[in-house]
């Protein structure tokens, strides 16, 4: 029981990191990025290619994350430009359709070029015992990286000028503009950062289970579920919901079964939307 619970926390931390970028992006610009999972998968594929070419794991992973960030930056500078020119519902709609197109373009290209591509990192060292539970070192390293990423993100958002700019745009875009913040640049930053975080999750996830070239779509859906449950636009909400759903996921896959678990998670998102559309920590407006 405790072991399953711990596994849930390990998975939950990564779900949180996966979803937090998506959530911030929605808070900032009212857009949803359905290419989130595709960006994560590109990082995994690039890292695996670099390792096949003889690179050590760490630089390979870093290059993977950087490539994901670069693709994110590219998307922001190209297809997201016309999206931000629209307002309200049309903006959301166009962002959904364009990023869906981007997701399929990226997934399709990767699937065509590397049909059997995937990343599976083996972390050395034996299991470590925590509270009487033997944990794989891969899980621990993945969690450590996720916690570090969350810490760095919190520091960025809470302690730096950039973070204040991000939070002010989320609160009030016009107000932020009036005090001299450029919302476009803040959005570009967060889009790139969210792509990098997606890439990072693909790397950490491959330490416990392989990430394959076809995982993109399900990663996007997972991130969406967590984002919705946590509250669209809320970074702490995404992290909390990630942890919560990670634990639910682990317990229910262990005791009930994987297919039903997927349905439970989806039902959680659907229920949240119906009962409390603002999510756990979202602003109800």
């Amino acid at each position: 029981m405790l072991a399953v619970f711990f596994d849930g926390i390990v998975g939950g931390l990564q779900l949180g990191v996966l979803a937090v970028g998506l959530s911030l992006l929605y808070g900032l610009g009212g857009v949803l990025n359905l290419a989130h999972g595709a960006l994560a998968v590109s990082a995994a594929i690039v890292a695996s290619l670099a390792m096949d070419a003889g690179w050590p794991a760490v630089p390979a992973a870093v290059v993977g994350v950087l490539v994901a960030a670069a693709i994110g930056l590219g998307l922001d500078q190209t297809i997201m430009r016309p999206v931000y020119r629209l307002r309200g519902e049309s903006r959301v709609l166009l962002s959904l359709l364009l990023t869906l197109g981007a997701a399929f373009a990226i997934d399709g290209l990767l699937g065509w070029r590397y049909p059997f591509g995937g990343l599976s990192l083996r972390i050395g060292g034996g299991p470590v015992t925590i509270l009487g539970v033997r944990m794989r070192s891969g899980s621990l390293l993945a969690s450590a990286i996720a916690i570090t990423a969350i810490g760095a993100l919190t520091w960025l958002l809470r302690r730096t000028r950039t973070g204040r700019a991000v939070r002010s745009v989320i609160q009030d875009e016009v107000g932020a503009q009036l005090v001299g913040i450029n919302p476009g640049r803040v959005r570009t930053l967060i889009f790139t950062l969210s792509a990098a975080l997606a890439g990072l999750v693909a790397i950490t996830q491959s330490m416990t289970a392989p990430v394959s070239v076809s995982s993109g779509f399900s990663l996007t859906i997972l991130a969406l579920i967590v984002t919705v449950v946590g509250g669209l636009g809320s970074a702490p909400g995404a992290l909390l919901a990630g942890l919560l759903l990670g634990i639910v996921n682990a317990l229910s896959s262990f005791y009930i079964g994987t297919y039903i678990t997927a349905i439970i998670l989806l039902a959680a998102a659907a229920l949240t939307i119906l009962v409390r559309p603002a999510g756990l920590l979202g602003r109800a407006d």
């Binding site: 016309p82 049309s90 869906l100 939307i273």
Partner: protein, 343 residues
């Protein structure tokens, strides 16, 4: 689709009404008749080729999917991202009712379409009731897509899991032959086009146009927006379920990938966006062009998903009204200019 102010929205309602309302019955339905005649000759030309007939039937299937989506999204702007799942409700529903409950398969087809209608209608009703925006409707229906897929995989005893189902009930019937099946699908497509035109010309169409252009104004004018949305969801989902059911019996075999999101939804979206969302001929123009493109890139089969994604991006960046209408308006502008210089 792009946000319009109240003023421009109202003027567009009037324009739309004039262009349709004053037209005679004959000229309103003429395009549908032309499509029926043109596509009716296709088997005469390519009837001997199994490959080309297969492609033609696929094209008609997607044209019909696009018609259903056109009612839901094109008319009332509800972004249903579960087209494949609704078709799957029809397909699996009909197959299971026929093979497990031993009902005649022709009876199970409308039954399955009715089940799909109820499912889609519930989504519509919920999204109207909770006044969910595009984003939440999209997410709820997208999660349904994935949930349905998982349900099919998980309920192995009933659905055969990922190995799928062989449908016995419709074996050795006309639906399995290529040419009769072609005419069944063509009949369905023509029926859908007639239904769409009829809806456009009825009170429904008037209300649909008004609420697409400006919901607030429409509501103020006394249109029961909620009711029309739910009706659109119901009718469109029934259409999707019917296509799914007939497709299942024609194929004789279904598995979760038959109705996968990546297979059905994206392609239908591309087809409708290419032909023109909310237009009568959009599904036909889209599916015919797409069939041609698909044949041209046959050697790049594995790249198809990437190409579809790319097309989706280009379409929504460049031709938000659809390529068909864009060409028509270009033609009108050209004619207007030459007309002016002539007089």
């Amino acid at each position: 689709m792009p946000g319009a102010g109240i003023g421009s929205g109202m003027s567009r309602v009037v324009v739309g009404d004039r262009s349709l309302g004053h037209r005679s019955v004959l000229s309103a339905y003429l395009p549908v008749a032309a499509v029926a005649v043109l596509l009716g000759f296709v088997p005469v030309v390519i009837g001997d080729s199994r490959t080309y007939m297969g492609l033609a039937i696929t094209a008609l299937t997607f044209g019909a999917y696009a018609c259903g989506f056109n009612v839901i999204f094109g008319s009332t702007g509800q972004l249903f991202l579960c087209l494949g799942a609704l078709a799957g409700v029809g397909g699996y529903g009909s197959a299971l009712l026929a093979d497990r409950a031993d009902l005649p398969f022709l009876v199970t087809i409308p039954m399955a379409a009715a089940i799909a209608a109820v499912v889609g209608g519930v989504f519509s009703w919920i999204s109207v009731r909770r006044s969910l925006g595009v984003i939440f409707t999209g997410i709820v229906t997208l999660t349904f897509s994935l949930g349905f897929g998982n349900l099919l995989l998980g309920q192995r005893d009933l659905t055969g899991g990922e190995t799928g189902l062989l449908i016995a009930a419709s074996q050795d019937t006309f639906l399995r032959d290529l040419v009769p099946a072609y005419y069944v699908f063509l009949g369905m497509l023509i029926g859908y086009l007639l239904l769409f035109r009829w809806l456009q010309r009825s009170h429904f169409g008037w209300a649909f146009r008004a609420l697409r252009d400006d919901e607030m104004t429409a509501e103020l004018a006394g249109i029961d927006v909620a009711r029309f949305r739910v009706w659109a969801g119901l009718i469109g989902s029934a259409m999707l379920g019917l296509v799914g059911a007939i497709h299942a019996h024609h194929n004789g075999f279904i598995n979760p990938t038959t109705f996968e999101f990546g297979r059905v939804d994206v392609r239908t979206l591309v087809i409708l966006a290419f032909g023109g969302i909310g237009t009568l001929m959009g599904p036909v123009i889209g599916t015919v062009s797409f069939a041609v493109v698909d044949e041209l890139i046959r050697d790049l089969r594995q790249l198809r998903i990437a190409v579809e994604g790319g097309i989706l991006i280009v379409l929504f960046l460049g031709f938000r009204g659809g390529v068909g209408p864009a060409v028509v308006s270009l033609y009108h502008r050209f004619r207007a200019r030459t007309g002016r210089t002539g007089s």
